[in-house]
Symmetry: C2
Subunit: 333 residues, 2 copies
């Protein structure tokens, strides 16, 4: 668990996109962030109050979260100076960067002296069990995709928000770096040892109230040969009661795999359901989430209508249309 | 790569079964072992010449392989004394035990002083890539099972031997501890980080002659919820041209999962083929391997005949009947 609330460090972000982790926190857990800290030359702004370290401490912030991608694969001298100062001011640090905070000698030394914690959310910290397959109480829904990076995390977060707005009990369960930073906890599934993948998903989604939903963030795709094993561990460890199918209609080929065509939504539905029934024979596909960011409004609506007619399932772009219809489908299950 | 030939250390094995790693080496790669070393009280014998460390060195042995399970999860004082002596005599050590050689201070110290290597084959040593999915030359066959521990390694080793006997080009590719010790190399797939699983299988089975077969050792089962992700990484990383279905007909439930029924061979065939076609649309199921160790001779033969008629595929127990018919099926592909 990363202590909240956060001060979001945007560094010297070269554009808005570089700060997408900070933007995700601001969009989905605004109560987790008291402000943003920007260095000279920063070209991103997530719309929070600019604060010094001291102001953020006074506002109650506990952790400085690195909400920005670093350049050139190094943590620069300018960043390090601020991060050391943050530790000295009493902050923990949290980061999803490939470069680990724990590999930076000055940060480690400062954290030791001042009794603070460095959270590298790419690295698993818990000893996960081997999956037992034992049926757990409570309900679970998993987002699965035709490809990587088609909007599974966004769909899960939007669904979680829509369910809470309806008064349903729901918890977003993060399985990747960004999701973990947004919510403060989760499992960095792509970094877990093979034998413990499904067990880590069981650990993440334990017994719960009968009417509680875990909204499990998906990873990869059953059709993505580089990461399909991770996806299957989510399907079998998560033992979902419901699946949401996620798709991006303008993708030319599987991400990073130019020789691989994107499968149809129907083929993802069919094979995922077969696999899901091994862990939970009652699992159903309840809806479709389309990422229409590259389509115009009319096109987007027409595409969703066409898929809805074809599959007979509520089909929305949660970003354009909200996730209410998906939440409704879960409520009706 | 572990340097061969080996001296097989049987320690104080409490029974023959405890020495199954040594037995596997003796059975499948007898040219890799010059002899066996037994301590007082050892109740196992793999049928090799008993040798002292000195005799084994003179016979050319390079590595002492721990071919026996340890008791109580510790490397005993008696073992350590012999292993230190082995290092001093110029041997490398290799082990698939959960307790790592590298965690034993006296072994590490001796290895450093004498310039020898400690191989813990449970721990990956190479930096594996993320899978690219690019089609590789040469052919690959993968053993897949209805459950864990149904004879996939045995089937693969027997198939490799039968293919070599027919003059075919073939290489057994180990993906587990025992297989790695038998052949001296491989990938300990269950210990690989999730994101690199499929890539490690690509790494293990690189481009090869057009008429060369990699015989890939299977792991887990698509139907075993604890390990199915590992199995799918083998299917997608291995991009097999052929699959052998492995089954143990007396299993009451999935290994370690009392609530899970063992699937039919047909359901494993159907779902595995669908998944395999993502990576290699030409993949075919070519045969069935039945582990009949708990059946009598007549029963075993009748069972294989019945499966053969039902599935229309050559069906054998490689231990009872040999793997020739499976090799023939691959040769005909």
């Amino acid at each position: 668990m990363i202590e909240t609330p956060y001060l979001l460090f945007l560094g010297d972000a070269q554009d808005q996109l570089a700060a997408k982790v900070a933007q995700g926190i601001k969009d989905w857990r605004p109560e987790n962030a008291v402000g943003q800290l920007r260095l000279p030359g920063c070209k991103a702004d997530v719309g929070l109050q600019d604060m010094t370290l001291q102001q953020a401490r006074e506002a109650g912030a506990q952790t400085v979260v690195i909400g920005v991608a670093n350049r050139g694969g190094v943590i620069s001298k300018e960043w390090r100076a601020v991060l050391v100062e943050a530790i000295e001011a009493g902050f923990d640090l949290a980061s999803g960067l490939h470069n680990l905070l724990r590999d930076e000698g000055d940060l480690v030394a400062a954290a030791q002296v001042h009794g603070r914690t460095l959270h590298d959310v790419r690295v698993p910290t818990d000893a996960y069990p081997i999956a037992s397959g034992v049926k757990r109480s409570g309900k679970r829904v998993l987002a699965v995709g035709t490809d990587c990076s088609v909007g599974k995390m966004y769909t899960a977060l939007a669904l979680d928000a829509a369910m809470r707005a309806r008064g349903m009990k729901s918890t977003f369960r993060a399985t990747g770096q960004t999701g973990i930073l947004i919510t403060g906890s989760g499992v960095p599934l792509d970094a877990v040892i093979a034998d413990f993948m499904a067990g880590s998903v069981e650990y993440l989604t334990p017994d719960n109230d009968a009417d509680h939903w875990d909204i499990i963030e998906g990873q990869g795709s059953i059709f993505h040969v580089s990461y399909s094993g991770v996806t299957l561990a989510l399907i079998h460890g998560g033992q979902p009661d419901a699946l949401i199918l996620c798709h991006e209609p303008t993708r030319k080929h599987m991400r990073g795999l130019p020789d691989f065509a994107v499968p149809t939504i129907e083929s993802v539905r069919d094979i995922t359901l077969q696999l899901a029934h091994v862990a939970n024979p009652a699992c159903k596909v309840v809806g479709v989430s389309i990422n229409t960011q590259h389509l115009g409004d009319a096109e987007a609506t027409a595409y969703c209508k066409e898929v809805e007619a074809r599959l007979g399932l509520p089909t929305v772009d949660p970003f354009r249309h909200g996730a209410d219809r998906l939440a409704e489908a879960l409520a009706a299950l």
